[in-house]
Amino acid sequence: MTAPTVWIPVALSSEIEAGASAGAVVDGKEVVVWRDTSGKAHAWEDRCPHRGMRMSFGFVRGDHIACLYHGWQYDTAGQCQYIPAHPDLDVPQTIKVMTYATKEANGVIWSTLSEEVPDEAIPGETDQVTALRSLYIDCPAAFVREALETASLPGFSASEEGTDFAALSDTVWTLTTGEDRLFIGVQRVNPSQTALHVMIAGPQATYAGAGQAHFSTWLETLRRSLEDGAPEKAASAPMTTAEVA
């Protein structure tokens, strides 16, 4: 049985600076997300072919990522190019990290965890986005979705009533209140943990600063009530001005 290939969000673009690397877990599988110094993002299996240590503990030098343990260096195709213990060795082509299809859209880094590229584009693409944050929640994705379906997102642009939830795909949700829309990439970490990579679908001129803080505070409250096992609290409790500020 093979599931259809889908784009899965693994980080916000702004969270992975040029020359940085980080780990991410999707359905229990470890992924290293890194950005070379030319600015291109990569998502690979998080395992060094040498002894299987996590590549995400390593560091980026130019267009290579080096494993922390014995310093083996891999180029942007995952090919090992340099082994410090054998500096003169012409490294065999077979020493290669498993690389995955990777792309950036809507301020989010996406991967398929395979070399395959899905037929479907990432839904809900807009040109105007403002980075918000990634939110890691100790709850299953289905539980988070249930809460969001009835959530009341306080508007920033105007105090509109009523929030619409939409699932554009399995990994893309939106929450809309009046003019304001959150674009949410859903990463299922494991059966009990979910990461939401959240962008504001709107221009930075409108949302940078106060708007970001407004929605970030709401997300913190959401996470707290979800983890307390009471999603209805986040959904129905109106936020006080103090909480928003």
Binding site: L12, A22, F57, R133, G209, A213, S216
Partner: protein, 210 residues
């Protein structure tokens, strides 16, 4: 002989905080190695004469002997940082730095205990300690996420302060006790920034990238 002596154990994160500041301030100092594990030398009479609590770090600067990480950091900043950036003069920023120093002592204590269990214990890390550490890191990550919205790069104000220095080791060493950095994107960016500061120095568990 250097003017400042730090009674020091290399694997101790509290000693590391003081080493970091001594080095980053560019001071002349010398470590006096104390065999903390397994020797418990800090609990023997010669060291008890310097600190009756039997803990490290302890520091001597001329005739002055001080113990306790916060005190050492605050003293060094006041005595040797003429620019007053590590410990700001401004009352509000001073208050904020003290708040995070307090946090590093109280709320990051579980992280410090968890690491000691992981490194020197035989039964693994107690789950409640790990949970409390993770909660503290979340609070730090939420703070730095919001700082990012106002283009703040450090925990307090425009410059790196003792707040960053005191918080840095616990997070940088968290893999020692099984907490990964995946969930804390704002802290990841912040420790990269901290590592790039002039005269930054590592300790075992905080890799030197070369």
């Amino acid at each position: 002989m250097a003017a400042i002596t730090l009674y020091d154990y290399e694997l101790d994160e509290h000693c590391y905080r003081v080493r970091l500041l001594l080095t980053m301030l560019g001071l002349e100092w010398a470590p006096h190695a104390i065999d903390m594990v397994p020797g418990e030398e800090e609990k023997q009479p010669p060291m008890l004469a310097l600190n009756p609590l039997g803990r490290l770090p302890v520091m001597r600067d001329g005739d002055l002997v001080l113990h306790g990480t916060e005190a050492l950091l605050a003293y060094l900043a006041r005595a040797y940082d003429g620019a007053n950036t590590w410990l700001p003069k401004d009352a509000a920023d001073f208050g904020r730095v003290m708040m995070w120093l307090n946090f590093s002592t109280l709320d990051l204590q579980p992280a410090s205990q968890a690491r000691v269990q992981a490194l020197f214990g035989t039964t693994g890390v107690d789950a409640p300690l790990k949970e409390a550490s993770r909660n503290a890191f979340r609070i730090m990550d939420d703070h730095m996420t919001k700082r990012g919205y106002e283009h703040g790069e450090w925990f307090v104000g425009e410059h790196v302060t003792l707040a960053d220095l005191a918080l840095f080791p616990s997070f940088a060493l968290s893999r020692d006790f099984g907490i990964d950095h995946d969930e804390f994107p704002a802290l990841r960016r912040w420790i990269r920034r901290f590592r790039n500061l002039e005269n930054f120095t590592t300790m075992p568990g905080i890799p030197d990238y070369h």
